[in-house]
């Protein structure tokens, strides 16, 4: 038997005791508040009540590290969006729309909160530092973003294709990548006699 067990260093949510109020189903209770979000010095927007921090490429690593230090110890999701066909989207003042956007969803287990970070990435320079050394769990997610969208993560230990075959050309989820179609040949339907 191993002696590995729960430790105090991981901020696990406190177990609710008798009389203590349990978390409510109100979604706004699980989102970072506007006051907290503006403390990071980056443009903030709210999308259907969900807080979004708009970080630029240079400040990406630093803001993520600060969020991590502030208790956002879990990375839930990391993905990318290609806005080639939808350039006129709404962004807060001071954020220039670029073709690609990296979207990172973070969660704080101790504060029971979520926050989203969006980074604008120009087509000619879709490069970001890897989060692998901050959140090892982004390893597969970054490979997926690279495979599907062509976003390059510097410092990633093994930035290779994850879902597509190794020798695949192109990045399928880009908007200028056509949907693959396989011609289907139907057999002539047999006659009634």
């Amino acid at each position: 038997m191993s002696t590995a067990g729960p430790t105090d260093s991981v901020a696990s949510p406190p177990a609710p005791r008798a009389g203590e109020t349990l978390p409510t189903a109100d979604p706004s209770a699980h989102a970072m508040t506007a006051a907290e979000a503006t403390g990071y010095g980056v443009p903030v927007s709210f999308s259907r009540g969900q807080p979004v921090l708009h970080v630029d490429q240079a400040g990406y690593e630093e803001v993520i590290a600060r969020l991590r230090d502030d208790g956002f110890n879990g990375v839930v999701d990391l993905t990318a969006v290609d806005y080639l066909a939808h350039p006129g989207r709404e962004l807060p003042a001071g954020v220039r729309a670029e073709r690609f956007e990296l979207v990172v969803n973070l969660v704080s287990y101790s504060r029971r909160q979520r926050v989203r970070v969006r980074v604008q990435l120009p087509e000619h320079d879709a490069v970001l530092p890897s989060l692998f050394y901050v959140y090892p769990g982004t390893e597969a997610m970054e490979r997926e973003a690279y495979d599907m969208m062509g976003i390059v993560f510097t410092g990633h230990p093994d930035l290779s294709r994850i879902l597509m075959p190794e020798d695949w050309e192109g990045h399928p989820l880009r908007k200028d990548y056509a949907v693959g179609r396989v011609p289907v040949q139907f057999k002539q339907s047999p006659g009634t006699r």
Partner: protein, 459 residues
């Protein structure tokens, strides 16, 4: 790279080793000619040396403590899968072995990739459910639920109460059926073949209810944006009560069969251990995270739907091994049954889908009477409904952890971007840590304890 590999540019040296006689190998299929080793490309050498097999070794994880002496010349790299029966589909794992001990490993996925996220951009929100339900095929209702919740968040509509309760009833039953199937396959992986028969037998009860309610055993497309496709069938309480009556006794039988069984305990206890720090750092969710002692269940910690009104416990382990994950899943079935009993009691009367003509198609009989209904019906099924611009992330707790849907709308009837964060996809990253230092035979137990569903992993 060690010194025994010459650099790529080195000239071919004809030593005794590279002489013609030495380059012919006798195999079971006859004589085979080999190339001189110096001709092997550097990329190929790296692959052979296992340079692509690595463990996260950042500040968060300490992967140096492998208590096995690595003898460089005796390690061997083998593939397990993608056709191996215990890999639950088409998972392939590259393992570096020293004797029978697994040193490093790397899961290789993508064999079931069908571009469902791309397909999702081509389908309307009405059709989208048929696509996402096929991702994690053992928990199809959760896929539909997260897609419907994300669409409704973008639409900013509230579904009727009864629709939400029906969704909770069906997803909890789905959690039971998914865990039962895991019990069955896990038993089979570890040699308890009768467990497989039992697990499938009980799961069939739940699937029968699904078939009666949704018309299908899996891939239901029943939970749709705006509510559910149909009301519950007459007499649904009796069917659910029958499930609630029979399954607890069967779970006690599983306890007799597996929990105290020496062979089963030997094969799972202390196998595939993960610490809480590792689980959090690797983004693992669901039973894997809870087995390490982190009490995190979205149903309790970030309640959605009406979970804050129900009483249930979050089952937590303490050792983070395969046995803990088994015990958690077994007891989660019991908790789900507890939740289902409360849902049956509290199921309100009312609409099962939203009465918004732009989102919900009109009933069939109205089409014959009302011109407007005919137009709405035609519009919804040809064009779909328009969803206001925006982006949203919604996460729910599936049997395997958190499934998330990141949905971007550009104001058209089709999602601009549909991204599903699948629990198994992220959970698979913890495999190399769990298998490190274990035996090949235990690898089967470890893979099984992660409960990966490749349809969700590869999407």
């Amino acid at each position: 790279m060690s010194e025994d590999q010459p650099p790529q540019t080195a000239p071919i040296v004809h030593t005794a080793e590279t002489d013609a006689e030495a380059l012919v190998a006798e195999t079971s299929e006859g004589t085979q000619e080999l190339q001189p080793r110096t001709l092997t490309e550097s990329a190929e050498l790296l692959r052979e040396r296992g340079a692509v097999l690595r463990l996260p070794d950042g500040g968060v994880l300490d992967s140096a403590d492998i208590d096995v002496e690595i003898t460089d010349d005796e390690t061997m790299i083998i593939n397990m899968g993608p056709q191996h029966p215990s890999t639950h589909g088409v998972l392939r794992i590259m393992m570096e072995l020293d004797g029978e001990t697994v040193l490093r490993s790397k899961p290789i996925i993508g064999y079931l990739h069908t571009g469902m996220e791309k397909t999702g951009e081509e389908l309307t929100y009405v059709q989208g459910g048929t696509n996402v339900t096929r991702m994690d095929y053992l928990a199809p209702l959760f896929n539909e639920l997260v897609f419907a919740l994300a669409t409704e968040a973008l639409l900013e509509v509230e579904v009727p109460e009864r629709a939400t309760w029906i969704r909770m009833l069906l997803t909890e039953l789905n959690r039971v059926s998914s865990h039962l199937l895991w019990m069955a396959t896990n038993g089979m992986d570890l040699g308890a073949v009768s467990m497989m028969i039992y697990g499938f037998r009980e799961r069939e009860m739940v699937l029968d209810f699904f078939e009666k309610t949704t018309g299908l055993r899996m891939n239901h497309n029943f939970i749709r944006p705006g509510g559910v496709a149909a009301d519950l069938p007459d007499g649904w309480q009796e069917d659910v009560n029958e499930i609630l009556h029979v399954i607890p006794g069967r779970l006690d039988e599983y306890d007799d069969l597996l929990t105290g069984q020496p062979i089963f305990r030997e094969r799972t206890q202390g196998v595939g251990v993960l610490t809480a720090e590792e689980a959090v750092a690797l983004g693992a969710t669901g039973p894997i995270l809870r087995s390490t002692g982190v009490a995190w269940d979205l149903r309790r910690d970030m309640p959605y739907m009406f979970y804050d009104q129900l009483e249930f416990d979050v089952v937590v382990g303490s050792y983070g091994d395969a046995f803990d994950r088994y015990a958690i899943r077994l007891n989660e079935i019991r908790e789900s049954l507890r939740i289902i009993a409360q849902i049956v009691e509290r199921m309100p009367e009312g609409d099962y889908r939203i009465q918004d003509k732009k989102v919900t198609p009109p009933p069939r009989r109205r089409i014959d009477e009302s011109m407007e209904a005919l137009i709405h019906h035609f519009k919804i099924f040809t064009e779909g409904f328009k969803v206001p611009e925006g982006e949203v992330y919604v996460g729910v707790e599936t049997p395997r952890g958190e499934i998330g849907c990141y949905l971007v709308s550009d104001g058209s009837p089709k999602p601009y971007r549909l991204h599903i964060r699948d629990a198994s996809f992220v959970n698979l990253q913890s495999l190399p840590i769990m298998m490190r230092g274990g035996l090949v035979a235990d690898a089967v137990a470890v893979i099984s304890s992660v409960d990966p569903v490749m349809g969700g992993v590869d999407r």
